[in-house]
C-alpha cells in the first residue's frame, strides 16, 4: 500500500507514462507530457529515446526541463539538429513512434484545439496555438493526449481544429492520406479513453476512486463506454518519489 496520498494530476501523469514502451522514440511536448515521458524513462522504459522539437535527439536531462528548449536537454544528448531537420527528417519522414500532446479542447473524435476559444478573428480566449502539435498529430505513428477532465475541455466539437484527430470519423482521417495512425488514447485525471472503430472516444479505464458517472458529468457529450471497463493501478511509491524528488521538486507542474 502507498503511504503517500496521490493527486488527480499525478494519476494522469503516471498513467500516461505507462503507455510508453521501452525502446520507442517519443516526440515530447511541453508541460505534463514532458513529466510523463521523463518518468517513463526513469522507470519501465530506460531505452526510451526522447526527441524534443527544439531539435534534440536522445535527451537524457539531469533535471526536469521547464521549457522544451532547456540546456539540460543538450548536454549528454545523442544528437542536436535544426528545427527544420527535426520536423522534416524525423517527424515528416516517419521516424517518430509516439507523439505526446496536450490541448485546451479535445472533442468526440479526438480533434485538438490549442488555438482559440470562440471566434478566431474575435477570440474569447486566445491560446498559444499549434507549435508542433499540427504536425505531431499528423505524422507520428501514434499519439497520446493528456488533459485534465472537465466539461470545458471536452466539448462535442472543438472551436478550432488545430491538430487532426479523426476529424468527423476514422474514415475521414484515412481518406486524408496522412501517414500517422492518429490518437490512440486520451489520458485524463479521471479516466483513459480510446477511440473506437469509428474514431469516437469511449471510456476504457477508470482511475482508482473514480466512478463512470464522474466521467459522464465532466464530458460535453454522451460519452460511450467500452464493453468492459478496467481500473488503472494506483501510482506506486516509486513513481511518486521520482515525480516529487527528481522531476518536479519545486512542484511547478504537480501542485
Amino acid at each position: 500500500m502507498n503511504e503517500r496520498i496521490y493527486s488527480k494530476n499525478e494519476l494522469m501523469i503516471v498513467n500516461a507514462a505507462r503507455l510508453l514502451q521501452d525502446g520507442e522514440l517519443v516526440f515530447v511536448g511541453v508541460g505534463t507530457p514532458n513529466l510523463a515521458c521523463n518518468l517513463a524513462r526513469r522507470t519501465h522504459a530506460p531505452n526510451l529515446t526522447m526527441v524534443y522539437e527544439a531539435g534534440v535527439i536522445g535527451a537524457q536531462p539531469a533535471r526536469l526541463p521547464l521549457s522544451i528548449g532547456d540546456p539540460t536537454l543538450v548536454s549528454g544528448a545523442s544528437a542536436v539538429c535544426s528545427m527544420y531537420e527535426i520536423f522534416s527528417l524525423y517527424l515528416q519522414r516517419g521516424n517518430v513512434d509516439v507523439g505526446f500532446l496536450g490541448g485546451a479542447q479535445i472533442d468526440r473524435f479526438c480533434n485538438i484545439n490549442a488555438t482559440v476559444i470562440g471566434d478566431y478573428r474575435h477570440p474569447k480566449v486566445r491560446l498559444p496555438g499549434s507549435g508542433g502539435s499540427m504536425e505531431i498529430a499528423a505524422w507520428a505513428n501514434r499519439c497520446y493526449i493528456m488533459t485534465p477532465h472537465d466539461k470545458r475541455r471536452f466539448p462535442e466539437k472543438v472551436d478550432f481544429c488545430t491538430s487532426a484527430g479523426f476529424l468527423s470519423g476514422r474514415a475521414e482521417r484515412e481518406k486524408s492520406g496522412v501517414r500517422g495512425r492518429g490518437p490512440q488514447a486520451v489520458v485524463t485525471d479521471l479516466a483513459i479513453m480510446m477511440p473506437d472503430e469509428n474514431g469516437e472516444l469511449q471510456v476504457t479505464a477508470l482511475h482508482p476512486g473514480v466512478e463512470l458517472q464522474d466521467v459522464r458529468d465532466n464530458t460535453g457529450w454522451e460519452i460511450k463506454t467500452a464493453t468492459s471497463i478496467t481500473r488503472t493501478a494506483e501510482p506506486t511509491s516509486g513513481e511518486l518519489r521520482i515525480l516529487h524528488e527528481e522531476l518536479d521538486p519545486s512542484g511547478i507542474y504537480l501542485n
Binding site: 511541453v30 508541460g31 514532458n34 522539437e53 527544439a54 531539435g55 534534440v56 526541463p65 521547464l66 521549457s67 522544451i68 528548449g69 532547456d70 540546456p71 536537454l73 543538450v74 548536454s75 549528454g76 542536436v80 539538429c81 535544426s82 528545427m83 527544420y84 520536423f87 522534416s88 517527424l91 515528416q92 488555438t115 478566431y120 478573428r121 474575435h122 477570440p123 474569447k124 480566449v125 486566445r126 491560446l127 498559444p128 496555438g129 499549434s130 507549435g131 508542433g132 502539435s133 499540427m134 504536425e135 498529430a137 499528423a138 505524422w139 478550432f160 481544429c161 488545430t162 491538430s163 487532426a164 476529424l167 482521417r173 486524408s176 492520406g177 496522412v178 501517414r179 511547478i252
Partner: protein, 300 residues
C-alpha cells in the same frame, strides 16, 4: 572586412520603423539585449516574426514597437500564456499571422534557399489552412497528389545571437540550433551578437561548427549575456525563475511599464542591465563545465 560595432550603432543602422524583424533562437540564444536596444531607440510599427514570440516580443509589444506579430507558438514555454501579446490579439490592438512550427520554419527555409515556395506534407488539420491564405495546395506533378506549399519569409533584418564569432561575422553555435541559420540566410540584413569575439584562427580550427558565414552578416556586436533570461549553452543557464516571475509580473500593465522603465529605458546598455540583475542572479545562472572530446581535422 571588420564589422565590429556597438549594438547601439547596429540597431540605428539596420533596424528601421516598419521593418519585418526576425529575432531568432528557439528558447536558446534569444537576443534579448537587441530587443531592449530596439525599445530604447523607440522603433515603431515593426512586424515581429518568431516561431515562439517568447518574452522578448512580449516586452517589445508592451513597449509599443510592433503593429503585427507572425508566430507559431504564443506561449511562455513551460509556464503558460504570453499575457501581453495575447491581450493585444484578444483586444484587436495588433495584427497577427499564424502558423504551425513546421510551416513557419518551412517559410524561412524557402526564404533562405531563394525558392518561390516550399512543399510540406498535408496534416489533415483543416483550420489554420482556412484562416491563413499563405497555406496553399498544389498538385505534385510526379504523383498527382496534393501537397501543402508556403511562400518564403524574407525578414528585413534577422538578429542572431551566437557563442562566438570573428570580427568579420563568421559565427559558431552549439546547443539548440533552432532556426538561426535559416533566419540569417532569409533576411536582407543580419545583426550578429556574440558572447565572445574570437580570432579568425579559432573559427578556422573548427569549421564544421560555423553556422553563419561572414558573407551574409552586416554587423558584429560583442554582447556578453545578450540572451538573458534565455541562455547561451556553455556560458550561462536559462533563468527559469525570471520566466516564472514574468508570468506574475505581466498580469499588471503598471508593473510591466515599471519593469520596462527600470530595466530597459533607464539603463544605458546591456552591460548595465546585467550588473543591475545583481550578484545573486549571476551566481544562480553559473554553470558547471562539460567539455566535448576534441576532434582531429588533420594537418595538410
Amino acid at each position: 572586412m571588420n564589422k565590429l560595432c556597438s549594438l547601439q550603432e547596429a540597431v540605428a543602422s539596420y533596424v528601421q520603423d516598419g521593418d519585418l524583424v526576425y529575432a531568432a533562437g528557439f528558447t536558446h540564444l534569444i537576443p534579448f539585449a537587441v530587443g531592449h536596444e530596439i525599445i530604447r531607440q523607440g522603433r515603431r510599427n515593426l512586424t515581429l516574426a518568431r516561431a515562439t514570440p517568447d518574452l522578448i516580443y512580449d516586452q517589445m509589444i508592451a513597449a509599443g514597437c510592433a503593429q503585427k506579430v507572425i508566430f507559431s507558438y504564443l506561449g511562455n514555454p513551460g509556464v503558460g500564456s504570453l499575457r501581453i501579446v495575447r491581450a493585444a490579439i484578444e483586444s484587436g490592438a495588433i495584427e497577427w499571422e499564424e502558423y504551425s512550427h513546421y510551416s513557419m520554419i518551412t517559410r524561412l527555409t524557402a526564404g533562405a534557399a531563394g525558392l518561390p515556395f516550399m512543399p510540406m506534407n498535408l496534416t489533415a488539420a483543416p483550420d489554420l489552412e482556412k484562416i491563413n491564405p499563405n497555406f496553399q495546395r498544389v498538385v505534385d506533378p510526379f504523383t498527382g497528389k496534393e501537397v501543402m506549399v508556403v511562400p518564403p519569409l524574407h525578414p528585413d533584418v534577422a538578429i542572431v545571437h551566437v557563442q562566438r564569432a570573428d570580427a568579420e561575422g563568421n559565427a559558431q553555435i552549439w546547443g539548440i540550433l533552432g532556426e538561426q541559420k535559416e533566419a540569417a540566410f532569409a533576411a536582407q540584413k543580419v545583426i550578429l551578437t556574440a558572447e565572445e569575439i574570437v580570432d579568425e584562427t579559432v573559427i578556422r580550427s573548427d569549421p564544421n561548427r560555423t553556422v553563419i558565414p561572414s558573407l551574409i552578416v552586416d554587423a558584429v556586436c560583442h554582447v556578453p549575456y545578450c540572451a538573458h533570461p534565455s541562455y547561451t549553452q556553455g556560458y550561462y543557464d536559462r533563468d527559469n525563475d525570471f520566466y516564472l516571475q514574468w508570468d506574475e509580473l505581466s498580469k499588471s500593465k503598471e508593473n510591466v511599464e515599471k519593469w520596462l522603465q527600470e530595466f530597459v529605458l533607464d539603463v544605458k546598455d546591456h552591460a548595465q542591465y546585467w550588473r543591475k540583475l545583481g550578484e545573486a542572479t549571476h551566481q544562480r545562472l553559473k554553470i558547471k563545465d562539460k567539455f566535448s572530446t576534441p576532434i582531429n581535422y588533420g594537418e595538410f
